[in-house]
């Protein structure tokens, strides 16, 4: 039997149980913290340095900027000041007058500003930059100064040229010749060639040659035109003087005739010299003739008591003035007709104004007398001085024959020169008298005569009161009568118009008022209306209107025909039928088929006013 044995089967391992560690410390990761801290410190340092650098830079830039701004302001101020300085001083200065050029002023400002800068780098930068700034500004300022120098010179030359032009027009012959040579050039007395002002300016480079040529031509034209105008003005002035002489009828006839002859002669000479055109000469001659004729006509009219008659004499060819007769023969017929028409209208106006002045004077005198009478009626009888003065007024009124019987009696009663109401202030008025007078007052029939008839029944105070009322009523009666007449004649509407209607209205109004006043001033015993009541005066006005109505219509019709005839210059085809002037004229105007034409409308309006007058009673 086999004996089993055992042999070990496991060999001892050759491993040691140790192993190579793969663990490795990462220096980067381990030092990351400190590295970051280091970076942090570096960043802090960097930022601090950067901050300081920035601060320093900003401070320097700020200081530099301030200095530059100050310099800019200073240079701008100095630049502005140069505008009012002499350009030569701007460019070069004048040490003898302690005047610096602009460059010197600028450099002085730079030095002053730089001296106040403490930082060397800033000062250095400022000085470097300021040189450029000053140089650039100087270029601009000097250019302006040079331009101004040139402008001054040009202006002086232009002024000189203008002065030479004036001398050529207004100087004497010597001055004109000298001015001609200087202005336009030529050969002087020594035989030297002299350049004209503008040519010399071109030669000096102040203006271009073409400009010099234009200016020379313009000056020649200007001198010619101004000389012509001056001569024409002298001619016109002399003509006016001669017209005044010719038109003055107080001057000797020979002098006036010479003035007329010289006027014609000088106008013809001016035409020959081209001072004025033939047309202008003819116009001047016509105007002179017209002015002289009108002046003579005015003189004749103002010397005559009746201007209309005087001018009618001239129109009819009966002029006694030889100059006027001579002038009228040379006038154009239409101009002559117009002058006659105007002078006739003027004559009418002169006469009207004279009449109005006379009436105004009369009215003024009446007013003064009326006031004197009122003073007498209202005099304080207890005041002796007032009474004496009133008696003097009474005496004057007697001299002027102012009184009628009633008013005289009233005045003398108050003045104690006649029978007066009983016992001043002590007599009481009777009721019946008061009633009668009050009713008369209300009915506008109160008169001084009525008051006088009741004197015995009135106290002095009531007597005075009713006398005043009677006078007032009388005046109001005249005013109402005047308004009535004026209204019927449409006087206020036409009195300021120039045409025949205005003249007719004026004439008829004055005639009617004269008739009324004549009646009012005529004593009642002579069929007059002195002391008339309100109602009586108005009644009289109506009678005057009625009595004159036929005459009014006749005159208005004539005025209408005259007016329409005067419109034939505007409407050449207009023919008036004297029997029916309104309708025939309106028919003609309708046939024109221009109802909106301003002239047509004006004529139609006037004619319709006539028609109304002719129809109204």
């Amino acid at each position: 039997m086999r004996v089993p044995t055992y042999q070990r089967q496991t060999a001892a391992t050759n491993k040691t149980g140790a192993m190579n560690f793969s663990v490795r410390a990462n220096p980067g990761a381990l030092s990351a913290g400190l590295t970051a801290v280091a970076n942090l410190a570096g960043e802090v340092e960097k930022q601090a340095i950067s901050w300081y650098a920035t601060e320093q830079k900003l401070r320097r830039e700020d200081e530099l900027s301030k200095a530059e701004t100050e310099l800019d302001l200073k240079l701008a101020e100095q630049k502005g000041n140069q505008q009012t300085r002499d350009p030569s001083l701007v460019l070069a200065g004048d040490p003898s007058k302690n005047e610096m050029s602009f460059v010197e002023q600028g450099q002085s400002s730079i030095d002053l500003i730089a001296s106040n800068i403490q930082d060397k780098k800033v000062r250095s930068a400022f000085l470097a930059k300021s040189r450029d700034t000053l140089a650039q500004t100087t270029i601009s300022v000097n250019q302006t100064a040079r331009n101004r120098l040139i402008d001054q010179r040009v202006a002086q030359e232009y002024q000189r040229a203008a002065g030479l032009e004036d001398k050529m027009v207004m100087g004497n012959s010597t001055e004109r010749a000298a001015a001609q040579l200087s202005l336009f050039g030529g050969i002087d007395g020594q035989g030297n060639q002299v350049a004209g002002v503008y040519d010399q300016m071109a030669a000096d480079g102040l203006i271009k040659e073409t400009e010099a040529f234009k200016l020379t031509r313009s000056a020649e034209k200007s001198v010619l035109e101004r000389a012509q105008k001056a001569d024409a003005a002298i001619l016109e002035s002399n003509t006016n003087k001669r017209v005044l002489i010719a038109g003055d009828t107080a001057r000797p006839l020979a002098e006036r005739q010479a003035a007329v002859a010289n006027t014609v002669k000088h106008i013809n000479e001016a035409i020959a010299k081209n001072t004025i055109t033939p047309a202008a000469g003819q116009e001047m001659a016509d105007k002179a003739t017209d002015d002289a004729v009108r002046a003579i006509g005015l003189s004749v009219m103002t010397r005559s008591d009746d201007a209309t008659t005087a001018i009618m004499g001239i129109i009819s060819g009966n002029s006694e003035d030889a100059v006027l007769s001579e002038l009228l023969t040379t006038m154009d017929p239409s101009a002559k007709q117009k002058a006659f028409t105007d002078m006739f209208n003027l004559g009418n106006k002169i006469d009207t104004e004279r009449r109005e002045q006379e009436e105004a004077a009369e009215e003024k005198a009446d007013l003064a007398n009326n006031q004197a009478y009122e003073s007498i009626i209202n005099v304080d009888q207890s005041d002796e001085n007032a009474l004496a003065a009133a008696k003097r007024l009474h005496s004057n009124l007697l001299k002027d024959k102012y009184y009628d019987a009633t008013s005289r009696k009233a005045a003398e009663t108050v003045l104690g020169l006649n029978k007066k109401p009983k016992a001043d202030g002590k007599q009481e008025s009777k009721r019946s008298a008061i009633k009668t007078l009050t009713k008369a007052d209300n009915d506008n029939i109160l008169s001084q005569a009525l008051v006088e008839s009741l004197t015995e029944d009135l106290s002095l105070a009531d007597y005075k009161s009713f006398m005043d009322k009677a006078r007032t009523e009388g005046k109001e009666g005249r005013t109402a009568a005047k308004a009535l007449i004026s209204s019927r004649l449409r006087y206020n509407e036409f009195k300021d118009s120039n045409n025949a209607l205005g003249d007719a209205a004026d004439q008829m109004f004055q005639s009617s008022m004269f008739e009324l006043d004549d009646w009012l001033n005529t004593p009642k015993q002579d069929d007059g209306g002195a002391g008339a009541t309100y109602q009586e005066t108005v009644k009289k006005a109506r009678e005057i209107i009625k009595e004159n109505d036929v005459e009014f219509k006749r005159q208005y019709k004539e005025a209408l025909v005259e007016y329409v005839n005067s419109q034939t210059s505007l409407f050449p085809g207009l023919v008036v039928d004297p029997a029916r002037p309104v309708e025939s004229t309106l028919e003609y105007l309708r046939s024109l088929n221009t109802p909106n034409d301003t002239l047509v409308k004006g004529v139609v309006r006037t004619i319709k006013s006539y028609r109304k007058l002719l129809v109204d009673n």
Binding site: F21, A36, E43
Partner: protein, 149 residues
């Protein structure tokens, strides 16, 4: 606001490193257990080997006896002693190998612990770096704002 993100980034990095260090520690502990388990397992094998060797000795003594030999003396005894010697050496070798294996495993655990220590150091450094970067960012931002203002 950038400095806040820098700071948080450092914190996150440290957390990641610490997480890795925890894993390293766990691995180290696992290695320790594996080493102990290796020794324990080998001792069980040795017990089983002794049992088997005892059976072998009995069979050997029987064989000697079958062949007429007295098993407890002379050559059979020498043979039995030689076998026993071999078995003892076998056991010793096994124990030695197990100890070496366990040592090797423990070494790996040591390495894990070292790695964990490093990770914690890295984490700390990363946190410090995050704070520093945050401050740097803060300074840059402040300087920039001051420059603008």
């Amino acid at each position: 606001m950038g400095f806040l993100f820098e700071y948080k980034a450092g914190q996150q990095q440290q957390a990641a490193y610490n997480y890795n260090a925890d894993i390293n520690e766990r691995n180290a502990k696992t290695a320790d257990q594996e080493a102990a388990q290796l020794i324990f397992s080998e001792e069980q094998n040795i017990v089983e080997f002794r049992q088997q060797f005892s059976d072998l000795q009995d069979a050997q003594a029987q064989a000697f006896r079958y062949n007429g030999w007295i098993a407890e003396e002379g050559t059979p005894l020498k043979v039995a002693l030689a076998s026993a010697q071999e078995a003892d050496e076998e056991i010793a070798t096994r124990r030695y190998n197990a100890a070496v294996g366990a040592q090797e495993i423990r070494e790996s655990g040591v390495q894990e612990r070292m790695q964990g220590t490093l990770n914690r150091m890295y984490g700390k450094s990363a946190a410090t770096a995050g704070k520093a970067r945050a401050f740097q960012s803060l300074i840059q931002t402040g300087t920039a704002i001051a420059g603008v203002a």
